[in-house]
């Protein structure tokens, strides 16, 4: 490699890395814990999903009946997208196709439909707010591509449709939806605009919400908000969406997350090229007892090489899942003349077939539950992911069931079963275990690789470890950057700037683990903690500890103290869980509540590792001073280096 190229790779790698380090660290840290989102939720609610698995009955008939009490259902389309943990379902109910159908007046008192706008309005006022309000639920369904997705990203990672669909956050029409937050007035205005914007027939009282099968009611977002949900949303910076006081047409946090992912991709490519020539020899070089600069460099290179495929996967799938607008928007304009509905259908979201509305009432009656049961029985080793109804109550009413194979049976695939109610006929059927085809396979790989959901818990643990190693790579990268510039030849002002950059970065990143532990312990003592409590505990303690660390102005002490705090807090977490809720390891083990047990064990291990690191760096601090053989200037240099780096 010639010198010029090498130095260009070096420079672009350094600059791009430094720009994104802090945000990328947050994304990696929160994202790693997100692999255990369901476990964290179970832990917080003290309600193990594993202990009583399969107890929840998916009662669609009841759900449709209760919708019918608030709305006239005839002529509507429904999409029920089942959450991955099977405890709830995202409901998207369209307006009626029947243009003669009048809106049922008495339905406005706060039923499902109205909540679609108002309920989320409440949420909007809470904080998640703009750009997420309506979208949060709407985007979750497969219909999202057609309707609500512009509002933002869905509340759950589970629904595949959510991801690409929701990331296309764009368009003027979307603004009406994005303003769905606030108060009722706002919501109504939004709805009116929507209707106009879409030119849909019938009344515009469509509804989007999450329904809880166990409780037989609409799931309340803020009280159902958990630490798992918080970390999940933090990893794509959802909370940052509200930071800007003005609107830029897209959720700012998602845009930022997308840009950071892209720069991360760039940094990965330049990093790989930079180390290409010495890739093999560097991989086998790790001298942890060498000079600090070498330790950082070698840790960065070795861990970077080990984690490279993993990080590359996340850089790419990350952009796709959070901000695919970069591509979706031009594609929609170029290939589909602005028809978003069509592009999402072509990309395999939701029900592709169209069903004509006939204006003739249906004589037969559909029992959705038994239809789903038939399909579930038919499709072994698969899960039903979506149940859709088209033209409810019309002679041309259809029920469509979509299913996906369990990853133990087959990685990718999409089954579809279309049933016509009128003559009790199955129109078409494709098994989830049939050959998936290129599109579904490619799309499936994007999701599976990002969620790590194809190898059970062991794979998730590996993903978690690789994610945390990603944090270490970022940290060591910043340290290389700082140490390389901590020289006499560099002007004082620049060195100060460099130090403060590293100081703030380390202060905010190293405080994350103790803050996470403190927040989770605090949740044990709070009565029904919801979104505001989690926000307050996490962000305020993060701010406080971050400021304290920055004020220390001593990287070595920041490192030591953060390790000390992490060790104490992480070890305290399972103990508190035992004291407060009697969730001792052996108790949860005996109950089969392995998700709760897992979180306790996870923090126990994190605590032990932190303690070990703390012990090591404390030892190391003493060691150089004990060395009398080292010449005075060298010792001085060593101390300086340590002070600046550790």
């Amino acid at each position: 490699m010639d010198n010029r190229k090498y130095n260009i790779y070096f420079n672009t790698h350094t600059v791009s890395g430094i720009i994104i380090c802090a945000i990328l660290y947050v994304m990696f840290f929160a994202g790693s814990f997100t692999f255990f989102k369901d476990d964290i939720t179970a832990w917080q609610k003290n309600d193990s999903q594993l202990a009583h698995k399969g107890a929840v009955k998916k009662d669609f008939n009841y759900l449709i009946d209760s919708l019918g009490k608030k709305h006239k259902l005839i002529g509507r389309d429904f999409d029920f997208t089942i959450q991955r943990n099977h405890s709830g379902v995202y409901v998207a109910m369209s307006a009626s196709h029947d243009s003669t159908n009048k809106k049922k007046k008495d339905g406005e008192g706060g039923g499902f439909g109205e909540r679609g706008g108002r309920g989320e309005g409440r949420r909007g006022g809470r904080g998640e707010g703009r750009g997420e309000g309506r979208g949060a639920v709407a985007a979750a369904s497969d219909t999202a591509g057609r309707r609500g997705f512009r509002g933002g990203r869905a509340g759950k990672p589970d629904s595949n449709a959510t991801m690409i669909a929701a990331s296309a956050t764009r368009g003027d029409k979307g603004k009406a939806e994005m303003s769905g937050g606030g108060d009722k007035k706002d919501g109504e205005k939004g709805e009116k605009k929507e209707r106009k914007g879409r030119g849909r027939r019938g009344d515009g009282d469509n509804a989007y919400f999450t329904y809880d099968f166990a409780k037989h009611q609409e799931a309340d977002y803020t009280t159902g908000y958990t630490m798992g949900e918080f970390l999940y949303r933090l990893h794509f910076l959802a909370q940052v969406n509200q930071v800007l006081p003005f609107r830029i047409g897209v959720p700012f946090g998602y845009l930022l997350a997308g840009i950071v992912s892209f720069i991360f991709l760039f940094a990965l490519i330049t990093g790989l090229l930079l180390h290409w020539d010495k890739l093999v020899s560097n991989f086998f070089t790790f001298r942890p007892w060498n000079k600090w600069k070498n330790v950082w460099t070698e840790a960065h290179t070795v861990l970077g090489v080990i984690g490279f495929p993993y990080q590359l996967v996340f850089a790419i799938t990350g952009i796709i899942l959070i901000f695919n607008s970069f591509l979706i928007v031009p594609y929609t304009q170029l290939f589909y003349k602005g028809n978003q509905e069509k592009i999402y259908k072509d990309l395999g979201y939701g029900v592709k077939s169209e069903f004509k509305y006939t204006y003739k009432p249906l004589q037969a009656k559909a029992n959705v539950d038994s239809l789903v049961a038939i399909v579930e029985n038919k499709w072994q080793r698969s899960d039903v992911s979506t149940v859709a109804i088209r033209n409810y109550g019309d002679a041309n009413m259809h029920v469509v069931v979509i299913g996906k194979p369990q990853t133990t049976a087959q990685m990718n695939g999409q089954g579809e079963w279309i049933y016509r109610v009128r003559d009790n006929r199955v129109i078409s059927e494709r098994s989830p275990l049939a050959d998936a085809g290129y599109l579904a396979t490619f799309k499936g790989m994007i999701y599976h690789l990002h969620f790590g959901d194809f190898g059970g818990r062991p794979l998730k643990v590996i993903y978690f470890v690789l994610g945390i190693l990603g944090c270490v790579v970022i940290n060591s990268g910043v340290m290389i950057w700082l140490v390389a510039r901590d020289k006499k030849s560099i002007p004082e002002g620049k060195r100060k700037f460099n130090f403060w950059t590293a100081n703030i970065y380390l202060g905010s990143s190293l405080s994350m683990l103790p803050v996470l532990g403190v927040t989770m312990i605090a949740l044990l003592f709070l009565e029904k903690p919801g979104q505001p409590e989690i926000y307050h505990w996490f962000f305020y303690s993060w701010l406080a500890l971050g400021i304290y660390f920055v004020a220390l102005r001593n990287l070595e002490r920041v490192n030591r103290q953060s390790m000390f705090l992490s060790a104490v807090i992480c070890l305290a977490l399972p103990i508190f869980d035992g004291l407060v809720r009697s969730n001792w390891f052996w108790v949860t083990y005996a109950q089969g509540a392995f998700d709760i047990l897992f979180i306790d064990v996870l923090f126990l291990i994190l605590g032990v590792i932190s303690a070990a690191i703390y012990w090591k760096i404390s030892q190391r601090k003493i060691a150089p001073a004990a060395k009398t053989s080292a010449s005075a200037p060298r010792r001085k240099a060593q101390q300086l280096e340590e002070a600046a780096t550790a």
Binding site: N3, R4, K5, Y6, N7, I8, Y9, F10, N11, T12, T14, I164, F262, L265, F266, I269, T270, L273, I316, I319, I320, N324, F326, L327, P330, Y331, L334, F335, I343, D346, L347, G348, Y438, L439, F442, K443, I446, A484, R485
Partner: protein, 94 residues
């Protein structure tokens, strides 16, 4: 040791120009390239594949903009590429 400045762009304006051509030009080249591909492969397949390849190509072109010595050469090269790919995309045949 930081990168050797001898090999890096010195002028701030040239730097800016390179970044702009890398980001905007790279994006347009990547987009038009995949648009051109739709003439040879099924649209859906090109789109889903591009979710990966378009970003990688874009990032690579961004880097490439720094490797080319003169910024105007990159502007010229990327413009030509966009014109060629768009031309293929808009070809009146089949």
């Amino acid at each position: 040791m930081p990168a050797n400045k001898k090999y890096l762009t010195k002028s701030g304006w040239t730097k800016l120009s390179k970044i702009l051509v890398g980001v905007i030009g790279g994006y347009l080249v990547s987009l038009s390239f995949h648009a051109a591909l739709t003439r040879f492969f099924p649209l859906e397949n090109v789109m889903i594949t591009s979710f990966v390849t378009a970003y990688v190509l874009w990032a690579t072109l961004l880097l490439f903009a720094f490797l080319i010595k003169k910024a105007w050469q990159t502007w010229a090269l990327y413009t030509v590429l966009v014109v060629v790919f768009s031309g293929i995309y808009m070809l009146p045949i089949g």
